[in-house]
């Protein structure tokens, strides 16, 4: 099976989870004898031997990402024009589809949809589109950017098959774009334990280490500081937690348009002393933010999948997550709340932090759960979809 795979980023040159998901998925697909040509819109070095990577523009990732960020399209896209990178990407893909030997086209998220449609038109190959998030997710429940919505509508309508990263996303696609549910299948994201980098001896957060020795507990959030991530909700809950457990620190890792607003809100709620903002982190500072935590919290308003709770448990840290996340469909041994329910959030955080029995039981069971997870299951499901839709086979 030969696949023309259209993506927008791959690690280490990525700005978030989409690149990671594409990389891990392709790695497992390759194990299933799927031959992949992966098309990227920027130029970069990769240490990848299980598929061929092609760049469609000489721009490097940093410059490229600044112009067109896959997650915050609606914010950075100030005009209704497509960028030159996008157009050259489309042309390259169409040429590849016409002249290459492929069985199927697989396009990830809206930025590659136009290229996918064009490739399908020129080659007649079936198109699978893979939805990691829809525009209303990224716009925090608002409709979002009209042009992006147009592109999503077109891609979803033209696709022979749609893959959604969660049931929640599947329902959003059907709801937002009036696509029949029968056309959409769920292939959940996953995590491979051996792929995650391990911790070293010393935690970078010295001050927090000292506090923990004095009986403090740390609650961590890692993610962009945007409406979608609901850090405001977390801060309101934090206020209730701090009243009851003053030795609690909330570590907020990430940057985003709400940065200043959230600092202001912490002060207003009288918990500035208990909230530490680190800004955007990667590498060791990112990993150690999990490591130092007693509890990880992902209170998102909307999370098509949301892999961070699984990364947290890989570092031994249980989670509280919102029901409004795709990962809550597959991750059981964690606390779950509705994102709007700040009292329930506070209730669960307080109980978790003061009851070692809950913490221990959850960690043991969540680690067992994590070890059972693998991208291989997702790749198998996807391979079956490839078989079903590949050229020459009746649907």
């Amino acid at each position: 099976m030969k696949v023309l795979m259209l993506g927008w980023e791959l690690p280490p040159h990525n700005s978030g989870g989409l690149g990671v998901a594409c990389l891990q998925l392709c790695k497992s697909l390759a194990k299933n004898n799927i031959d992949i040509d992966f098309i990227l819109p920027y130029e970069a070095e990769h240490k990848i031997d299980f598929m061929r990577i092609h760049s469609t523009s000489p721009v490097n990732f940093v410059k490229f990402n600044h112009q067109l960020n896959v997650y915050e399209g609606s914010k950075y896209l100030t005009t209704h024009e497509l960028t030159s990178q996008q157009l050259s990407y489309e042309n390259y893909v169409a040429d590849k589809a016409l002249n290459g030997e492929f069985d199927i086209i697989h396009a990830h998220d809206w930025l590659t949809f136009r290229a996918g449609i064009k490739a399908k038109q020129v080659s007649g190959m079936p198109l699978i589109v893979h939805v990691h998030s829809v525009e209303s997710d990224r716009a925090g429940g608002e409709p979002g950017h009209p042009m992006i919505r147009d592109i999503e509508q077109l891609g979803l309508s033209m696709a022979d098959k749609i893959i959604a990263v969660s049931e929640r996303t599947r329902q959003s696609i059907a709801h937002d774009y009036d696509i029949p549910l029968s056309k959409i299948s769920v292939v959940h994201n996953s995590v491979d334990v051996e792929e995650l980098e391990s911790l070293d001896q010393n935690n970078i957060y010295d001050y927090l280490t000292v506090l923990k020795n004095k009986g403090y507990k740390v609650v961590t959030n890692v993610g962009r500081l945007t409406v979608q991530k609901n850090i405001t909700g977390l801060l309101y809950a934090a206020q209730e937690v701090v009243i009851r457990l003053p030795k609690t620190i909330f570590l907020v890792v990430g940057s985003g348009d709400q940065y200043n607003e959230l600092i202001g809100l912490s002060a207003e709620l009288g918990i500035l002393k208990n909230v530490i903002f680190t800004g955007f982190q990667r590498g060791k500072a990112w990993r150690d933010a999990f490591d130092i935590a007693d509890l990880f919290v992902m209170p998102s308003v909307s999370e098509p999948f949301g892999i961070t709770p699984l990364e947290a448990i890989n570092y031994g840290v249980p989670s509280l997550i919102s029901y409004q996340s795709g990962v809550s469909e597959v991750y059981k041994n964690c606390l779950k709340v509705n994102f709007w329910d700040k009292n329930q959030m506070a209730n669960q955080i307080v109980n978790f932090l003061q009851n070692d029995g809950i913490a221990k039981t959850m960690r043991i069971n969540a680690e067992i759960e994590l070890r059972k997870m693998s991208w291989d299951q997702s790749a198998k499901k996807l391979s079956k979809e490839y078989e079903k839709h590949a050229r020459g086979v009746l649907v």
Partner: protein, 402 residues
């Protein structure tokens, strides 16, 4: 000597803790009063189980008793269920009294609150056993002579306690590891006891009804009363077939549409058709048959799971911490002499609360085995521990040092 079926049914409902948060602690002391619109609430469950199980089953049993003079049954009914029936379904409670009034229904003794107190506080355990006995005497005019501990949790120490307390019999799981080459279809004597006798559940025959009856993937499905009687008849070297199970098997665990009611209705006369067959209550079985051997159970055995131990209630750190916290308050709670606080504390001792905290089934995704009003074992623990914090708050309010 006739061969008998000793049918024993356990009837119980706990007071489930509602969604009780830290915002309720110190303000609202009613842990068990659920909002009326929630299906998991205690009153709603009593309503549902009554109409699905208690009412039709008692109707079936009274008919069987009236039509078959040799039919007998033993019941254990917990205090936590009796008080809920008194409040919300007095007619259902009356139907249990009607059963007992036939003179062929025996009530088995246990703890009033369906607790695991035996393993944490003998004093508290004995109080609850006495409370239960007094309630049974008041309601059914019978004094239990045979004892069963919560979840059929049994060991040598319990047998010695029952012996000293004057019980003639005690019930336990007929687990292979205890029985070895012996079978469960005889009466035995617990090791180091003088008078008490042991009746052991034939878990294969009992679980055919309790767990497998309606399972269409079971190789023996559909189970007919002919086939079942045939299985029993084929079992050699036997005196009493001890069919112990949850009463809620009828209509609740096995829904009416599985045919469970029709099965029992035809089983009873079919078994009695052979004049060498009969039914006995637990006391009658104990009186009728001589102990065949001594039984030694140093480690606690229960009737749950493939492990047959207490791990479903006390297997994870969360459960252990919660139950330890609860019993750590014993002296202080009893010291208040405040009936409301003591009773709330006892309601929290019901084993079901710890079962809801079990992570075993939760991981396997076995939602059928995972019988809980909560979204997860963690939520169960959080509600429970908040109630515990409130108990502590009430102690502090009374000036008790905690």
């Amino acid at each position: 000597m006739k061969k008998s079926i000793t049918l024993y049914l356990h009837v119980h409902q706990p007071y489930r803790v509602r969604d009780y948060t830290i915002f309720d602690v110190g303000k609202d002391h009613d842990y068990f009063k659920w909002p009326e619109n929630l299906d998991n609430g205690n009153q709603r469950i009593i309503d549902k189980v009554s109409s699905k199980s208690y009412i039709p089953t008692n109707k079936m049993l009274i008919k069987l008793l009236n039509e078959n003079p040799e039919f007998k049954v033993s019941l254990s009914i917990t205090g936590t269920l009796i008080t809920q029936l008194e409040k919300w379904a007095p007619d259902v409670l009356q139907s249990f009294v009607d059963l007992v009034n036939t003179g062929r229904v025996e009530i088995v003794g246990e703890t009033y609150h369906h607790s695991l107190a035996f393993f944490y506080s003998l004093e508290e355990f004995e109080i609850q056993v006495r409370m239960h006995r007094e309630k049974i005497e008041e309601l059914f005019h019978q004094t239990p002579k045979v004892f069963r501990n919560t979840e059929l949790a049994y060991n040598n120490d319990l047998a010695i306690w029952a012996d000293k307390s004057g019980y003639k019999g005690i019930l336990a799981e007929g687990w292979d590891k205890i029985l070895g080459w012996r079978n469960a279809n005889h009466v035995y004597r617990p090791i180091n006891t003088n008078n008490v006798k042991l009746l052991m559940k034939n878990y294969k025959l009992a679980d055919d009804l309790a767990f497998r009856f309606g399972d269409k993937n079971w190789s023996q499905w559909p189970l007919t009363s002919e086939k079942y009687v045939d299985w029993i008849n084929q079992t050699g070297d036997s005196e009493t077939f001890n069919l112990f199970m949850d009463y809620e098997t009828f209509g609740e665990h096995q829904w009416e549409d599985t045919g469970i009611f029709d099965f029992i209705t035809s089983l009873v006369p079919m078994w009695l058709r052979d004049e060498n067959n009969t039914f006995t209550t637990v006391s009658e079985a104990i009186d009728a048959y001589e102990p065949q051997d001594f039984i030694d159970v140093p480690e606690t055995v229960t009737w749950a799971d493939t492990e047959r131990d207490l791990s479903a209630w006390l297997g994870n750190p969360m459960q252990q911490e919660a139950i330890k916290a609860l019993y750590s308050l014993s002296g202080k709670i009893l010291g208040t002499g405040d009936w409301n606080i003591i009773e709330d504390w006892r309601k929290l001792q019901t084993s079901d609360h710890f079962y809801y905290m079990c992570t075993k089934y939760f991981n396997d995704g076995d939602i059928h085995a995972y019988f809980s009003p909560y979204a997860s074992p963690y939520e169960a623990t959080i509600n429970f521990m908040n109630a515990w914090h409130d108990l502590k708050f009430r102690l502090i309010e009374k000036g008790v040092e905690v």
